[in-house]
């Protein structure tokens, strides 16, 4: 049994209970405002520069009863967004002073529509996110970002200045740097951290003031490095597909003779890949980074998703890939057969998993994963 890292427990403490954790409560108590967002379509830097706390909306470690959400968006809706909507209906997100949505996928787009109709926050916005990764897309996105900046400035009652944006970019780039260092540790033959711990660390980033988070993450890195801990497991796994926020899910996989060493998720490698170019005018830097500078998601046509997965699998020396897909998520689901072919072509073993979002590992999933690990061992 590995002893838990004190700093990680501190992070978890500050972000608990989910979603309105201690850190959020303290922020609100100081009279400051929180703005929710989903996926990586909306630059957190822009919200941060306005003096707001950007809060990443998601589920957490408990499976969510989705039925209330389904009375609005029906059962055939992707679970990631359905889960958020369920919590909004349960008033769990009532602490938000605003939310910025996007058209990044059908689910996200319809959550925006339903919020407007049934549960509006005082400030609501929706950002057009291009699905192409080229110069024209950067330009159109830049204009839309400027418009969003205007609206956020109005909300604040004061123009969001370039200097503020530059400072925010610096802070968020620093997070990316620290996360990279953290992930580097996982490349070791005996990584010092588990996938479960990593997921908790990644989730905390979207749930507390970034300055505090960066300090904690630096402290955590030091603690890990000085601990000399080694996770002794047989097989190295990578998780690919929809975002998973349930650490219990990850923990169940790591109960086997395996450790999760990397992933392809928005609460993972895709979040910290690349950096906003600080030498550019800040808005342009953001537009370029979000469209071109990070690995693209399944929604972007001609994106580099598969290249990113293959490259990551190689860098982290993974033995097997778990390609999971939350039901009714069309972009990821569609990619699955092609991803399988691509990975098989490169001799990477994989297991495909269809699941409900937030689901805890039941008999079925445990059985499959166990058999997969056995297969990797044989």
């Amino acid at each position: 049994m590995n002893t838990p890292f004190k700093t990680l427990s501190e992070m978890i403490g500050l972000t608990s209970p989910f979603p309105e954790g201690e850190a959020v409560k303290a922020w609100k108590a100081a009279g400051k405002r929180v703005i929710g967002h989903l996926y990586l379509a909306v630059p957190e830097e822009l919200i941060h520069a306005g003096g707001f706390l950007p809060f990443r909306m998601s589920g957490d470690n408990e499976p969510l009863p989705m039925q209330l959400a389904e009375s609005y968006v029906l059962f055939n809706q992707c679970g990631v967004t359905k889960g958020v909507w369920q919590q909004i209906l349960e008033k769990k997100y009532d602490f938000l002073d605003g939310s910025v949505h996007s058209n990044v996928c059908d689910g996200v787009r319809r959550i925006y529509d339903n919020c407007v109709e049934f549960k509006p926050t005082p400030f609501m916005d929706v950002l057009n996110f291009p699905r192409k990764a080229n110069e024209d897309a950067v330009q159109v996105y830049l204009v839309d970002l400027e418009l969003l900046r205007d609206r956020l400035s109005t909300l604040r009652g004061q123009r969001i200045r370039d200097i503020e944006l530059k400072r925010s970019i610096e802070i968020y780039n620093h997070t990316r740097e620290l996360m990279k260092q953290f992930y580097e540790l996982r490349k070791r033959d005996r990584p010092p951290v588990t996938g479960t711990e990593t997921l908790e660390m990644m989730k905390a980033a979207g749930r507390m003031p970034r300055e505090t988070y960066n300090d904690l993450l630096e402290k955590l890195l030091k603690e890990i490095k000085s601990s000399g801990r080694e996770v002794k497991k047989g097989k190295r796994l990578m998780i690919v597909g929809n975002d998973i926020h349930n650490s219990n899910w990850m923990a169940a996989i790591e109960e086997l003779d395996a450790v999760v060493v990397t992933d392809e998720m928005n609460v993972g490698t895709r979040y910290f890949a690349g950096k906003v170019d600080a030498s550019l005018p800040p808005m342009e830097g953001l537009a370029r980074h979000y469209i071109l500078g990070r690995p693209q998601e399944a929604m972007t046509f001609g994106g580099n998703r598969f290249e990113h997965i293959l490259k990551t699998a190689k860098e982290y020396k993974v033995d097997g890939v778990i390609s999971e897909n939350v039901r009714y998520c069309a972009p990821v689901g569609n990619d699955k057969p092609w991803l399988r072919k691509e990975l098989e072509k490169h001799g990477v073993q994989l297991m495909e998993l269809d699941m409900e979002y937030g689901e805890k590992p039941s008999g079925q999933i445990q059985l499959r994963t166990e058999a997969f690990v056995e297969m990797l061992q044989s």
Partner: protein, 440 residues
């Protein structure tokens, strides 16, 4: 997998050529049916022509381009390209009794999740069975829904086709987004030039655009006629405007059909001929329609006295004033896509809702039917917004019926009928209905 799949005995009856024969035979049968609207026959004839062009494109050495929803066919027709719309092709396959389950099973065996959009799974299965038309290019929109870009991407990958992908901006009405869009329309034309090796004849495009503009206006005229009481539009031609405007925009066939339909409806309105005798219920399809089962529409009309007065997908958005400058066909086409049939699905739900309320009021709708196509999360996510606002605003109740847009067996017909019977009974007992009828 290889693009040339040999067709096994099992699938041989479902090649494009065979499908074309089946649709043709269907037209002949239609001609014998008593009491059909003339346009009902021409509608199916239009479909037969469509499939035949696809089936013989190879023989005629024509380029065949796969495309998804919302594409401007005017461009294809101006360059002698034969378009094949994945949804339209799948619907005709299902309508003719094609083994939908069989191709879905093939797709599932290939690893495509079974809960995806039926149009996506069906073409995937057809590709695997070796019965999908062989294209030379694929072009499509993104951001219409999540399935469309992926479905066309699949086709292009399997058949190894050059592609042009158009990134449709959300709410494209602002100038910078329209500019972005226009540029992509130009690139789209350039991509067609590249595969055909021919330059676009802009005079020809202008003519096609003019035809398409006329077709838009005809569709709007038809809509006004359909809204009359009693509703003159029979089940047999109900999806005609949609087919004409989506798959034949820029082609004279569309205009011929629409003109004929308009005249026929006018005549029926003048003579007071309604489709249902008597007309008991006027309904709207809020999202998808059961295109795969025309007989269901017929059943509703003949057995329940229910008539389809608004097909939400089959109408242009707003005023549809997209002809801005007759000398700028590309600009017109880019503008047109803001108003395209079904395009309101891709805009914010609030706008969709308000539009829906207005139409339902004007068309004197009594009942709403939501065919929840299980593979379509995009529409499912909108259902409650429409349901509640129709109920609150106009006292119109909605029946929500889970179905698969191609697979008739997904929800057995008997169950659909049972649900609709219950629903119509409830509608007729409703206060709003009684009030509406008292006023008429």
């Amino acid at each position: 997998m290889s693009a040339t799949v040999s067709v096994t005995e099992q699938w041989a009856p479902w090649t494009p050529l065979e499908l074309a024969k089946k649709v043709k035979a269907g037209v002949e049968q239609y001609k014998k049916m008593p009491g059909l609207m003339k346009s009902g026959v021409t509608y199916l004839q239009m479909a037969a022509d469509y499939i035949e062009a696809i089936a013989i494109a190879d023989r005629d050495r024509k380029h065949l381009v796969w495309h998804g929803t919302q594409m401007n066919t005017e461009v294809y027709y101006s360059m002698d390209i034969v378009p094949v719309f994945n949804e339209m092709y799948s619907v005709l396959f299902s309508m003719m009794g094609g083994p939908v389950k069989g191709i879905f099973d093939l797709s599932a065996a290939n690893g495509l999740p079974t809960e995806l959009c039926a149009f996506n799974k069906s073409v995937d299965g057809m590709l695997l069975a070796g019965i999908a038309p062989r294209g030379t290019m694929a072009s499509w929109h993104g951001s219409s829904c999540d399935n469309t870009p992926k479905a066309l991407g699949n086709i292009a990958r399997v058949q190894g086709l050059p592609t042009y992908f158009m990134d449709r901006p959300y709410q494209m009405f602002t100038q910078h987004r329209l500019d972005y869009w226009r540029k992509q329309n130009e690139e789209f034309i350039a991509s067609c030039e590249k595969i055909t090796g021919k330059k676009m004849d802009y005079n020809r495009l202008k003519k096609a655009v003019a035809l398409s503009w006329e077709a838009t206006k005809l569709c709007q005229e038809i809509e006004q006629l359909v809204w009359k009481t009693p509703c003159p539009m029979g089940w047999e031609a109900a999806f005609g405007p949609l087919t004409a405007a989506r798959s034949f925009a820029g082609h004279p066939i569309a205009n011929e059909f629409l003109t004929g339909l308009r005249d026929e409806l006018k005549e029926r309105v003048e003579k007071g001929i309604g489709a249902a005798k008597p007309e008991r219920i006027r309904y709207v399809f809020t999202v998808s329609c059961p295109y795969f089962d025309m007989d269901l529409i017929r059943w509703m009309q003949e057995k329940c006295g229910a008539v389809l007065v608004v097909d939400n997908i089959g109408r242009f958005r707003g005023t549809a004033e997209w002809m801005l400058d007759p000398d700028d066909p590309v600009g017109n086409l880019a503008a047109k896509q803001q108003f395209n049939m079904g395009s309101h699905n891709y805009n914010p739900g609030v706008e969709h809702k308000e539009m829906m309320l207005e139409i339902c009021r004007n068309a004197k709708v009594d009942a709403a039917i939501m065919f929840n196509n299980v593979g379509c999360a995009e529409q499912a996510g909108l259902s409650r917004i429409l349901e509640d606002s129709l109920q609150k605003g106009l006292g119109i109740p909605t029946a929500s019926i889970d179905c698969d847009i191609l697979d008739k067996e997904f929800t057995p017909r008997e169950q659909i009928e049972e649900q609709l019977t219950r629903f119509f009974e409830m509608v007729e007992n409703g206060a709003a209905y009684k009030q509406r009828r008292a006023q008429q």
